[in-house]
Symmetry: C2
Amino acid sequence: MTLHVGMDIGGTKTDAVVVDAEGRVLHRHVLPSGHGDDAVVAKAVAAVAHVCEAAGIAPSEAASIGVGIPGLVLDGVVSHAQNLGITRLDLASALEKAWGVRPVVDNDVNAGAVGAWVAADGGLRSIAYLNLGTGLAAGLVLDGKVWRGARGAAGEIGHVSVDPHGPLGPDDLPGGLETYASGSGIALQAGGEAATDVLARADSDPDAAAIRDGLFYGVATAVRLLVLTLDVEEVILGGGLTRMGEPLLEGARRVIRGWERTSRVLASVDLTARIRVLDPETPVAALGAAMRGAGRG
Amino acid sequence: MTLHVGMDIGGTKTDAVVVDAEGRVLHRHVLPSGHGDDAVVAKAVAAVAHVCEAAGIAPSEAASIGVGIPGLVLDGVVSHAQNLGITRLDLASALEKAWGVRPVVDNDVNAGAVGAWVAADGGLRSIAYLNLGTGLAAGLVLDGKVWRGARGAAGEIGHVSVDPHGPLGPDDLPGGLETYASGSGIALQAGGEAATDVLARADSDPDAAAIRDGLFYGVATAVRLLVLTLDVEEVILGGGLTRMGEPLLEGARRVIRGWERTSRVLASVDLTARIRVLDPETPVAALGAAMRGAGRG
């Protein structure tokens, strides 16, 4: 059986999987991520060693190895992955030294988009993967290929403002989608309190409820923006905030239904039917990295 | 010399051109558009007859004929072109009867995107054509191909809201980009007065000045949205409102420079350098239709 290794090096976890050619996850191993160049590489090597051992292969015996990581990625070199303490690291070469084979390294949101596309239904022609994590960004798969844009900045919709009088982001600009609908944005609105805590008391606290309403508004608006700009078949939600589950989806849909009551155009594009939430346990970026290594997306 | 015929059937004018293989416009003939199926076809046939006569060829001798028209276009059939009085018309077949050759028919904004791409610099890999006309919509050329989306709705960013407390559109939704930055939207804000009249007195009338500021905000925000979502190399502005010229570009750039003062991300994507305004005399949709007929885009 052809086996592919995929890994997502996140700000907190390094998530490694072994998948088959169809993208079924056969083994998974998660470790806390390292911080700084050497520790990041060491943890990555360890996570892949564990998951390959479970699969009964050496890393060099995998048909391919793909890696997703935050930051700007060009020819295997990672820049500006601040949460990992990386300024500039030739990750592909460092890992090639350990394994004897060179991995395909990609930005984690792009890897996530491919993972979401494969996990949702590999038959879709185009999707946007809306990652609601510490930050907010979208990954785009158009015609079965990741669309990166002219300078790798495609999908950075967290920096689109949808309210000139909305809450200020870390850059002092109002109403950014990331400020409404990400872990860091919610914490910023709540004076530093963790997003999970803010959302947990939203049923009983009007201030927290207003922030939660902003989250629903931000998600609904991001979906509206992605569908009206790109007309992707589906917008697939992932990232930590989706652990909220059905209430998140229902909250966003309620906002959309409000728009549809008066707008024929918005009703015709059928936004509510095009939103999907992945099972939060899906190792979406690691799966996507594996599929990228296998030449998909 | 290989000659291609292109035509844009607009709400008011039917604009026909003969171009060479590189997209240079050799002849152009403009007629008022007809209203209703038969009159639209008759005017289209007449416009092409005139421009072909000037070029010394019969329509059937052109290497290709391409047509742009508002509304939804599928396999040469046009639906919902309200300004032309068309509910559903098999335009490709009707024109094929007149010419003996079948034209390539496409939506006018998609044709405009190809025209803008060719007119700007055929070497760009990706552009968005932002049409600021009676309505507001974008046409997308990604990797040298028009991106239409799953249902042909890509680029309908006029229906993205960028202010929940902004002016109401015809659908009663607030802050749509089309309400800020289109002829119909400005007229709606001004109680029915024509956009050109509103903008003409903006230097002396505070209400008109506020609407003009909204136009600059809308254009700047549309550019921000298109670049952050797609990271296209350039956003090319066209349509009637661009007759305003340099003040429009400068107004939008002023808004963008305000954002760049505090946001590192927005400064890094360099929005002001990516905006271009076409010469308003460029027959952008007719040229694009001709190039589409010739197999470009």
